[in-house]
């Protein structure tokens, strides 16, 4: 980055650090913070959507749908995250390649499964072997988003299911008395009121999601923990910037980042709780009602 960085061995003190902290590897490290934030911001709504769908299915009057909803939430919650993360992206990737293989190489006669190998024609590879590396990385990233969304969606489904049942029955009866259909009562009465009951559970999930991002590396996405480990490890003189084991300092940096993120999340969730409590038949809502205007 700086012009005097071309020969790091001649530097010392601050100049060495200035060069060290701005080398290509550190730039990738700083970039990975963005990757993690983007992942969180995409995954959270996606997981919520999965959860909402799961909860709706679980309380559906139609039996098969109800079973699907319950099975989804029970199965995914029961499987260890790490097993799920090793399985889902692989299975999904192979499933998509299998579809593409049949669509694009119909006259290919070799079997797809050859012993341990999974072999599809070159045109069916996803992404194509010839695609640039960033395409592969983006693909891996969205695989990760999908896997996270499925896992956290199952937990969210359970939370939302509970929240839907927590809305006082009297509210729904009143809606029926006004002549609303089931659908109308669900969307106009139940959904707006359930969030306050769901929020504590959802905020826990959000916190867990923040800390679960190192699982990304299993999918080949280089996240902040990977880079901290890689950069912090002791370096011999084969590297331009040799140093001892500095993982402690890098992990302290991550600690500050994660604690900061938690603090900000708590502040925002606190505000959200206040807003959602407004007019609710909960202790929080009651306290707001009694407080002098």
């Amino acid at each position: 980055m700086f012009s005097n960085c071309s020969d790091p061995s001649s530097l010392d003190g601050l100049a060495w650090f200035a060069c060290y902290l701005t080398n290509g590897k550190h730039m990738a490290f700083y970039g990975s913070f963005g990757v993690v934030m983007v992942l969180l911001l995409i995954t959270a709504p996606a997981a919520l959507a999965f959860g909402f769908g799961g909860a709706m299915a679980a309380r559906s009057p139609f039996l098969p749908l109800r079973l699907i909803g319950k099975a989804y939430s029970a199965m995914v919650r029961g499987i260890p995250d790490i097993a799920f993360f090793l399985f889902v992206p692989f299975a999904m990737d192979q499933g998509l390649e299998w579809l593409r293989h049949h669509a694009r190489c119909p006259d290919w006669d070799a079997p797809i499964r050859q012993g341990n190998d999974f072999v599809v024609c070159a045109a069916a590879k996803l992404p194509l072997s010839s695609s640039p590396q960033w395409v592969h990385e983006t693909y891996g990233f969205f695989m990760a988003v999908f896997a996270f969304a499925v896992v956290f969606g199952a937990f969210a489904a359970n939370v939302l299911y509970g929240a839907m049942r927590a809305v006082p029955r009297a509210q729904m009866e009143t809606a029926e008395a006004y002549g609303m259909s089931d659908r109308q009562a669900f969307w106009r009465i139940l959904v707006p009121q359930m969030w306050i009951y769901a929020l504590p559970g959802l905020s826990n999930l959000w916190m867990i999601l923040i800390k679960a991002t190192p699982l990304l590396f299993l999918l080949g996405v280089e996240d902040i923990v990977y880079w901290a480990k890689e950069l912090g490890g002791a370096k011999t003189t084969i590297y331009a910037y040799p140093h001892d084991d500095w993982r402690l300092y890098y992990f302290l940096g991550l600690l500050v980042f994660y604690l900061g993120l938690t603090r900000i999340s708590e502040a925002l969730l606190g505000r959200l709780t206040r807003n959602l409590s407004h007019g609710q038949a909960t202790m929080g809502g009651e306290a707001q009602r009694k407080a002098p205007a």
Binding site: P8, N23, G24, K25, M27, A28, F50, G53, L86, F90, M92, D93, Q94, G95, L96, E97, L99, R100, A103, R104, A110, Q114, G115, N116, D117, F118, V119, V120, A122, A123, K125, L126, P127, L128, S129, S130, S131, P132, Q133, H136, F217, L218, G220, E222, K229, E230, G233, A234, T236, T237, I238, Y239, A240, Y241, P242, D245, R247
Partner: protein
């Protein structure tokens, strides 16, 4: 959800079509990027090391377009067989167990010694706590010697465990440990052990064509002496050459 999968598939199908024709054969080279001087991520964030230089040379001799990718050691074989990359060139020793799952080219690095490094040269390597990287031939060997095996995901962590006293010694490829012993307080301990059948490029068993290409390229590098020059450049004069 089904709809989502179908849409993604449809999108992927259409977007891939335009790209398919214009490129030749690209081989994706999978490595660990954490095992200097074999392979490591240099300070510019690029993959570097003996295997990078060797791999690029082999690709140009075999007239292949190569793209480098890093993958965690733990899942390096599953990702190969499911087709996320086409080769493993990551200091992987040829062993019978691995050969059952994947194929290897002939070795491009001769069978070499593994060694113990410790803070104290007199440590009993057959009885103490020995650190090694998980799923390596060294880890397998330690488990058989009667010492207590302490496994780590990366080679760097196994060395750090000795420095901070968690393990009595680390057992790894001698050429990986050599620069570390030269530059830190670690010293050699015990006696060297010869393990494995050298290092080769790992390939899917179904990829016989690619294997033949790499085998031919390695043979040509062995014959004209460029491989020996490369070995000496990265591992010093003491390395066993062809």
């Amino acid at each position: 959800m089904k709809k989502l999968i179908l849409t993604t598939a449809a999108l992927a199908l259409t977007s891939g079509m335009a790209l398919a024709e214009s490129h030749g054969m690209t081989v994706r080279m999978g490595t660990e990027g954490a095992y200097p001087p074999y392979n490591f991520i240099n300070d510019d964030g690029e993959i570097d090391g003996f295997e990078r230089e060797l791999g690029d040379e082999l690709c140009s001799r075999a007239e292949l377009t190569c793209e480098w990718v890093t993958n965690e050691w733990d899942s390096i074989i599953p990702n190969l067989v499911s087709g996320n990359y086409d080769t493993i060139i990551a200091g992987m020793s040829i062993t019978d167990e691995r050969d059952e799952v994947i194929d290897f080219t002939q070795n491009y690095y001769p069978p070499a010694s593994s060694a113990y490094a410790a803070l104290d040269g007199d440590v009993d390597v057959k009885a103490g706590v020995i650190a090694a990287q998980t799923a390596t031939i060294q880890a397998g060997y330690v488990a058989e010697t009667g010492a207590t095996l302490l496994e780590f995901a990366t080679p760097d962590e196994s060395v750090a465990a000795v420095k901070n006293g968690e393990a009595d010694a680390v057992f790894a490829d001698k050429d990986y440990l050599a620069p570390i012993v030269a530059e830190s307080e670690l010293v050699w301990a015990g006696t060297d052990v010869s393990l494995g059948g050298g290092i080769g490029i790992g390939l899917r068993e179904s990829d016989t064509e690619l294997k033949a290409k790499f085998d031919a390229a390695i043979t040509s590098m062995k014959e004209d002496g460029t491989l020996n020059a490369m070995l000496i450049k990265w591992f010093g004069e003491d390395i066993v050459t062809y």
